[in-house]
Amino acid sequence: MSERPDELRVCPHCGQENAAYTLRCIRCGQELDELFELKGFEPSQGSVEKASEDELAPMSEILASLDESPLLAETDKADEDNEEVTSEAEENQPDSDKESPDWLERIRQRAKEEEDAAGELAKGGLAMDDRRSQEGRKQVDEAFDEIMRRIREQNEREKARRTRRVESDLVDENGDPEWLRRIRELHPTREDDSNETPQAIVNKDALEDEWTEEELQELLRREMGLPETPAEETEEEVTTEVTTPVPLTEESEPGLTDQLLEQLEDQVAETEPEPVVFHNIPEDDERTLNSDVDGDLPLEEDSILEPPQEPAQPGEDTELEEVNEPTETLVEAETEAEFEGKSLEAEEKLETESESAPSTDAPLSTEEVLPDLLLLKNQRERSQVFSEIIGQEGRRTIAVLHETTPQGKIGRLVLGLLLILGVLLAILLGKPGQVYLPLSAPATAFAKNLESIAVNDAVLIVLDYQAATQNDIEPLAVRALEILEEKGSNVKVVTANPENIWLAGNLLDPVQVPDEFIPGGMLGYLALAVGETPSWGELPINQAFTDDAELFDGIKQVILVSDSAEFVRMWLEQISPWQPGIKTSAITTSVSAPMLLPYHDSGQLQGVVAGIADAKALEVAPQNLVNQRAFQVGMLLMIVVLLLGMITKADEDTLRRTAERKQ
């Protein structure tokens, strides 16, 4: 027979070793016509005869095994029918055929045996049909159909399991996700597969997909109710049974012979002495599933999706044990069939959730359900939770009110440049102009109070402002000093702020400093306001004065030149109550003015002039003021920006409400 290696032919396409008489490669389907032709025109007659003997041997063995089958044992009539069929065939042959060569005769014989696309099993069935009766044939068909159904079920499950494995690989093509590693720990053999090259995986899958002899024998024996027989006897039966799925594809059907099948079985037996996987049924692809040959299998496919109505078969248990899954996995796998409908939904849900997962293969159909999806679903959900947690790592969980963003910086820069540009253009292009700012009541009161100062009245000017606000204050302070000087008042300039030592030169003569520096700030003013020189000597603060330490003696008016509302308030709180006869007024900035208005309202401040807006009250010379047009441009820009902020917010709210309504 074909057990000798020198009779194997290597496929030029994929390198698969095939039987000598195989028409097509059993792996890639490549036509091996050359082999056929060589076989047909074999010059050596002896070799042909030997080959024909080898070729006929398995058929005789099959027939012998079928004769031993209890299903066929009673049919003597079947034998007679078989002889009749054979004789009829011989009688129907034309005379010319009798003269044909021996090799041609054998080919015809073989073609007669392989008359339909049912393949080897069908061929065996034909031989059986010749022998058994109609009733026996029916029993055999039923047994055969049952075997086929079970094999297909197992095939479908294995295929779905493999598809799931492929899909799981698609989840993370760059690395192994956590849940996949856990599954591989549960499936050590598959983990090994993942580390192999694709070609190695294909080869290994091909080997794993083949049935072992013992399994097939056991399966056939169980289905046919035969007692256990030695492996040598059942081997040929199994060979016949196993090759039945092959003719599912019409193209591959004609080339498979009994010798080839036996040879393949021998190969499997040599390469896989230990039964590792369940079957050697080729993996059905889309074309196979949709083929016309499978057209008679819709019920079988549906039965896969339907929950089984009976407990799991012993064969299924064996299958599950061979998966090498832990007990927990087995339990879930045993119940998998009961929940395959749910698994479908779960799979769809998972597919929906993992839309972003990269896909390198065709999408799975809902029919290709993962049998043990329940196991994976739990793990996948946990993996998704983990991935979400990892994804949120480092993210801020508490909202920040003010977050400096690049957009914020750019916006600030743009607005700032806009204001600078506007002011610059107004300075360069326009004339200073004149603005008509409304006079405030405190400013008018300040001017009146200043006018009321008589000649030789002592006026105390208290400086407390920063260089930053000098442009808002100094024009007013300078004008007030001019007025006082015009009136001939006795002006005394003091400060408790070190900065005003070098700023005073802007108000007075450039080289002039304040008349006195008051130590300790407001405490110093208070000490001078409430203190009296004791009989035992001088007070400490008197030591700090270069001149007379009686600061408030003879003072009629105090003019506070300050950019701080706090300073003015402190003065009114700490000093004014102790010096009730002194009128107090203030020259301040626009910022401080609103907080000083209540003091003017209550009469504590005689008057307040605040910034450039009140310059008109003192008739400040325009050259001492900043460019009025530029001031107007700046104010106008701020109005626009403020309105823009309001409109933007309103627009955002509208969009948000619209979105909420849609939701």
């Binding site: 916006g411 000490a527 203190g531 400490p540 902020g645 309001m646």
Partner: protein, 203 residues
Amino acid sequence: MKQRTPVITAAISGIVMLAALFFQPFTAPYLGLVLGWAIILSSVALLVAIASLVVTHIRFIVKGRKGFLFSIILVISFLGTVSLGWYLGLEDPAFLKGIQSILIPLENALMALIALVLMSAAVKIFRVRGWSILTISFGLSALVFLFLNLGFVRFDSNPALSQLVSSLQHLPVVGARGLLIGVALGALLMALRVLFGQEALRE
């Protein structure tokens, strides 16, 4: 015990000072003396703060801490000012002019920067704070006062208009008065807590 010393000292000195203020003018010499001590102490405290600042930055320079370039600049400018002022005299015109030449543009630029930053703040304020009575009244008030500062309209030409503008300008008095009274009440409460030893100064 650690907290008691300053609290007790504050309570005693505060009560004595309060009594001295109430019994004016009989206690005027003593009041001047105690206030003089307080002035010296506050000045020393300010000196200690400045010294601490400089020492800290010198330590940063020695350790080579990140950003010690700024520390170098601070120490150099501090020592340069002190040494020049000590050498030339505090009221020397050249020294004061040198200070002016550098600090006036710097502080002016800082105040100008405030105007630029306020521009972007005006855009964000409603987005950050949202709509409320406070923000709406704030926005309307700002718009009104900005418009008044534009100077496009001569309000003094019409007495009624002038009266209206005067009323608008007087509106902030209500809120300011309420705020001032609130701040005053808060300060009063805090001072009383100090006097009664309930406010640990060191905390």
